[in-house]
Symmetry: C2
Subunit: 828 residues, 2 copies
């Protein structure tokens, strides 16, 4: 609680404190808060109240170098923390506004004749949330001289989920191993878990599911429960409830029964007894998450039972203890026949769960992904969100950037989440935005939920990309208050994570706000989904991986056109799942907004968008524009040199430079594929025309040999070169353009199964060298491993020999795609 | 040469590149140099010329992201590097100024009709120096549109010495183990050695002695020579000559002879053959340094020979190969009878070496410490510097802060060195400043020398304190050009190490310039030398350690007065060693400047200084002022937050805060000692009166017991407390002052033989905790280990119980001296 031992104070910012840095305020700001009371009074006793008081002290200590007095009663001006009930019991008469659940009230007022700053709530946890809100105001240099503010959480359940495996890996985690598990057990050192709980509490997140939805049944084995209890102990002071994902076959796999049929009395008893044992050890246990009958997971269908049958047995075991069951609606047949144009994976959640509306107990929440497919960069809102009237529902968002750049690319997701949460489904004639539906406000459900899949890891900065933590922050803030704007969230986070320098605040906020649109524009066009490799990495381009298989992420692009016809009239009928107003919009090709056109309709490439462009030209333009904008992020970030700490400056710069290069890989793959498929040229003459590009396979090669890259569009010209000579190979070209300043981009492949070395020479002069030692999700030359190295500021002369030397390592054969030689920006 | 592999580029500044960071220029500065030629032509072949060309490319690449073309001839606008001879041979006609030695000429001019930027010298090494000068101008944002500048080194020999032991330790090294040796051998990894040579070359240092002057004879054992050759290989490309310290008894100890008598023909032959073998392996070997007949080292006196005899045999062995012998004048009897008021260690160098003037060969240099004692914070200039007319001499300065704070305290030594180098000894009626004497200019000696004892270590930032590298930089710069001002040197270094932000440049330059005066003012007064523990650490206060022993660093302070009478009239006669003008000044107590008064005269404490103060009041005032100024460094540094990188910001802040606390330890030890010794009160009532101090031994103790600290003045009240109960002890007091914001300073002892833990409570509230895990040179409570922990911003109320808990570890018994409770600055 004291900012650590002295040696730790010497470290540069590693990102571990994320938005809770409590960095020393500037002198002027410090003066603004000089009249802050010297005492902090907490009324009552509980681990959470103790945390609230300690956090208040810690925050003021960090920002103002003052240690508030921890007091039990008001004897002088004080910051008073407590529930309204405790204030009343202490005889402090306050005219309190209406407060519910974990909402809080920040105000100034007299207590026993003494001016105080009051943080009140109906719950201990609400008091903690109020403390974080107050500290955030100070850190963001906000004035609160006449403070009188009430905040209420929008939805009761604001949980994050982690897809951690017991062996310590994380499915779709991009920032190191699990903070919870290691080698099949809970880690001995749980300090990061406590730190994580603190971060979660600070944004109002009140639960965390710690293991993969593809659950290992052992997670609730009796022998494992004491280990879970250790994690719950770390969560408890922060009001974060522990939950786990369970496997429906557990009664059979770890319970020794010969069945897991949810209506079998032995199964019912098994769940009852199991849950009871859990609560003996973890009295505030949050509940379970279930993924069943989906992507190969066991489920009630094995016994001809419905999800409602399965949910009921578990929910009733949880009910006496106050536990919740989050039952995922992400269930679909992944062996769909792609030849049948009526088949549509997008229909699955609605088709399965809508008929069951009303059959779930009140402590069950149907957890629905925001779109009908799977966390694509752009999807329409899931129709199921508007159609459960007698069942609790929640929305599942994804903080970890599975399909949105895996924390290698900047992609601020609250912008997307805001579009989804604000989307009006027109369910009942009134305004029924998704945020109201998932909060239970529309159908007056007792429980609503916003769930985010976070997947933080042991990397010091939790998510890998130093700017990606804005997504975790933004999830919590929007779950608490979805009426906040994306801009406000981005600015709040920037101030907390980087301070209040106006240039820094504006630049980072602007970059974050633009980033999702930029990512979308160089990956998936017009609602055709993220055109990534859906069968493997979910990272780089993989256009045809969606097609001709049972996974159902089809975009149906062929020689003539692209898009899934999901209309009632001629397609899969999916649009019929929406309420009439929305159905009408999506049923009509003209009424469908451009950005979702291809999700709902199959159109020819020459179809004219509302923008006035043809579909094909839009594909070309958006990918070129997007790659340009990604490059511009680098320029914007560079303006912050000396305005942010050197460590994060360098780390972010490296990621943005990589992103700018990978955006070109995406651009070229998609443009080339659509050009070859459609046969329609880019009106602006850019596609398949790279005047400054020299294919490696056309260079003069020594040792290097050409290879085909699959799919072909992921390498320029479909080919690259590789070197199997241990001492290395070279690729050479003669420069024949006018003398001047140039930059050379070397496009190479950086696999995760070797660390090749590269050197670049102009004549006999070595001008660069690097090791391809990053860990992209690729063991061969591909759109995942394709990487750009920029060598700026080279004075080239006609006749110069440019030579790239590659030295292979392991299974990585120093593979090269092409080089580009362009005039340096100043002289272009 | 390319700024490293990509992962290294992500690191925060560790200080490894010191003043050669080549950080990217701001955009405006980059524009200023946009017209820099695109090529760099080097004329000729040599390792040093290759280095020069590579460094030019590296620097421009780092600062401007441009890679200059390495060319062999001028075909277009170019930066042309080469000797005048090579330029002439290439047919480039230049009207060159007169250049000598390794001087260089930076100019612009036409070569074969093409505008070029020219770096010319008479030597390859001079070309390298010119390249560093050019790059430094760019890094410091200097204009050089009409460049025409000649620089000549002032003295031929500009060497650093390292006191590294073969086991890897460094005598008087404060920044980690040796970069050269480990476990008795040269280290396998010599990368740091090459980096060091680059730093040295960049400031014109052309030689480096790598081992302790208390030399292990094995350094020149035949079996060791191949290891030395490896180091020389790292030095060679940077024009740094390798030298070693040798032990005069080597012919006996490693040579198998039964004598090392310098006139014994077998000894003469042994040295001849040994040197010959060295040069076979290291053709550019620099030579030897000798410390003999000093502090227990063997020497010619064993055989009744003189230093000249000893020097001659070695010099003649070196002569045919061009090697030099640096013979240290630091020779004295350390068993002087302190009872004899005529004895005076200060006389030794002159008494021994002056009679031998003219008896040394031309490749011998007498290496003379700047003062007659030993690197004290203030000494008069050594008289021997002015009295060797027929012998080469050099001055020995100390970069490692042995007596000046050991890189724990900020102490910019070039300020002192400038006073010394500019000091006019009036040897011949003309102006004869020390800089001219040691450069050989006064008596027209062939060789002059400036030698600096550097003692860099394996710590990433070389010297420990991030601001201490200004001393190494400043040594090189002043050795090259002693006419530079200290301010200019400080500013140059600041710009190179921290960039050109005006606030940063001004603040750090000002701090550096003040720092030596500040250090002197809270340590040693009026030329009485650094009043440190001269028998051990040479670090914290140890006033009486100088007295009543044979080491001769006496200040003769007693009840009545203080100072060494070194006059001819009534004292040791030391003043008689100076030329008449200087002798007259120091012989007269009135003519002696205040700052050296006590070095030359014994005076009563009531003696009135030129300043109008009594000696005793000066002692009190200067120590209080000095401690205040040390505290002010913290304030100044804090103004740079967000202007320098966070890592160095935090590291420097921690050292300055420590220094501010240790300055108080110094202040109190010296003031209390002189108060008790003289019985004269401080006219300002500060000494021995600390209204806000509570002695630990007077607090309510549980488990803690009092201990005496020796010498008594190094702990407040002569006592402290310690705890031998493993579970810990407490010391408690009741606060009885008005309510308000306070800060508490806890004065504790941080030894190097344990890591005690401390916690501080106000009532039941823990307000701070820390571990005493620094490594001060102390195994007991002392002036070396005394350390201050400041706890700012505490709201205290009358009746509060303040409790310090100490938990011992190892041999460190959580020792405490006192605590101070003061109103917080804003409310004072």
């Amino acid at each position: 609680m004291f900012g650590g031992w002295r040696p730790e104070a010497l470290r540069a910012d590693t990102g571990q404190d994320a938005w809770l840095r409590y960095a020393p305020l500037e002198t002027a700001a410090k003066a603004k808060y000089a009249s802050l009371p010297a005492s902090v009074v907490v009324l009552g006793h509980s681990p959470v109240l103790r945390t609230a008081q300690e956090e208040m002290i810690r925050g003021v200590r960090g920002m103002m170098a003052k240690t508030l007095r921890a007091e039990k009663g008001v004897a002088e001006r004080a910051i008073v923390l407590g529930t309204l009930a405790a204030m009343h019991a202490a005889g402090y008469s306050l005219k309190a506004p209406k407060l519910e659940g974990d909402g809080f009230w920040l105000t100034t007022g007299q207590i026993q004749g003494i001016d105080c700053l009051i943080v009140a709530s109906t719950s201990d946890l609400g008091v903690l949330y109020g403390v974080f809100a107050l500290l955030s105001k100070i850190a963001r240099d906000q004035t609160f001289s006449s403070l009188d503010e009430v905040q209420q959480p929008y939805a009761l359940i604001r949980w994050v989920e982690q897809w951690d495996n017991l062996n310590g890996t994380i499915e779709r985690g991009y920032a190191g191993p699990s903070i919870f598990f290691e080698n099949g057990d809970v880690r001995a050192d749980l300090r990061r878990v406590g730190q994580y709980a603190r971060l979660l509490a600070s944004i109002g997140v009140n639960g965390c599911t710690i293991n993969n939805v593809n659950a290992d049944p052992r997670i609730i084995d009796d022998s494992f429960l004491p280990q879970l209890a250790r994690i719950a102990n770390e969560f408890r002071p922060w009001g974060v409830r522990l939950a786990v994902s369970v496997d429906l076959s557990s009664p059979k796999v770890i319970g020794g029964l010969d069945s897991f049929d949810p209506v079998d009395p032995r199964v019912i008893e098994w769940w009852r007894a199991k849950v009871s044992k859990i609560y003996q050890q973890i009295p505030d246990f949050g509940g379970f998450v279930v993924k069943a009958d989906s992507e190969g997971r066991p489920g009630p269908s094995s016994y001809g039972r419905t999800p409602a049958d399965a949910a009921t047995v578990i929910a009733r075991a949880l009910k006496p203890h106050g536990g919740l069951l989050l039952y995922r609606a992400f269930a679909y047949d992944h062996h769909l026949d792609w030849r049948n144009p009526k088949n549509d994976r997008a229909r699955a959640a609605y088709d399965i769960f809508h008929p069951l509306d009303g059959q779930f107990d009140d402590n069950v929440i149907i957890q629905i992904k925001y779109g009908p497919i799977d966390f694509q960069a752009r999807e329409p809102v899931s129709p199921l969100l508007g159609r459960l009237e007698r069942t609790n529902e929640g929305i599942e968002l994804q903080i970890t950037q599975e399909y949105t750049g895996q924390q290698r690319h900047l992609c601020f997701l609250p912008t997307m989440w805001k579009e989804i949460l604000d989307f009006d489904l027109h369910v009942s004639g009134n305004k029924t935005p998704v945020k109201d539906l998932v909060a239970g406000k529309v159908f007056h459900r007792p429980t609503g939920a916003l769930v985010g899949v976070a997947n933080v890891g042991l990397d010091a900065n939790w998510l890998g990309h130093p700017l990606a933590m804005a997504n975790l922050y933004g999830f919590g803030r929007l779950a608490w208050d979805p009426n906040l704007s994306g801009e406000a969230v981005a600015e709040e986070w920037t101030r907390l994570a980087f301070g209040n320098d106006p240039l820094v605040v504006k630049t980072i906020t602007d970059m974050q706000r633009a980033s999702w649109y930029v990512y979308e524009s160089y990956t998936g066009p017009l609602g055709a989904q993220t055109l990534t490799d859906i069968l493997g990495s979910h990272y780089g381009p993989g256009i045809e991986s969606s097609e001709r298989n049972g996974w159902g992420q089809w975009h149906r692009a062929d020689h003539d056109g692209i898009g899934m016809d999901r209309t009632v009239a001629t397609g899969t009928g999916y649009t019929g799942q929406y309420p009439p107003a929305i159905q009408n919009r999506y049923e009509s090709v003209r009424a469908t907004p451009d950005e979702l056109l291809l999700f709902f309709h199959h159109v020819p490439y020459t179809y004219l968008l509302h923008s006035g462009k043809t579909v094909i030209q839009h594909i070309y333009d958006s990918h070129y524009d997007g790659a340009e904008e990604a490059a511009d992020f680098v320029r914007q970030w560079k303006s912050l040199q000396h305005h942010v700490d050197e460590e994060r400056y360098a780390a972010v710069l490296a990621r943005l430079e990589y992103q700018a290069g990978h955006a070109i890989v995406w651009r070229d793959a998609i443009c080339n594929w659509f050009f070859r498929t459609s046969g329609i040229r880019d009106a602006k003459g850019r596609v398949d025309h790279h005047p400054h590009r020299i294919e490696a396979e056309t260079m003069q090669l020594q040792g290097y040999g050409s290879i085909e890259v699959h799919p072909w569009e992921n390498a320029s010209g479909g080919e690259g070169i590789e070197c199997v000579t241990p001492s290395g190979c070279t690729a050479t070209l003669r420069f024949d353009r006018p003398a001047g300043w140039y930059e050379i981009d070397v496009q190479y492949f950086d696999q995760n199964n070797g660390e090749s070395k590269f050197r670049v020479f102009v004549g006999n002069q070595q001008v660069d060298e690097w090791i391809a030692n990053d860990h992209f999700p690729a063991t061969k030359p591909s759109g995942d491993s394709s990487t750009r190295r920029r060598i700026p500021g080279l004075a080239l002369r006609p006749g110069d020999e440019i030579r790239v030397q590659g030295i292979p390592d392991g299974e990585e054969h120093a593979p090269l795609d092409y080089i580009e030689v362009r005039a340096s920006p100043a002289e272009r």
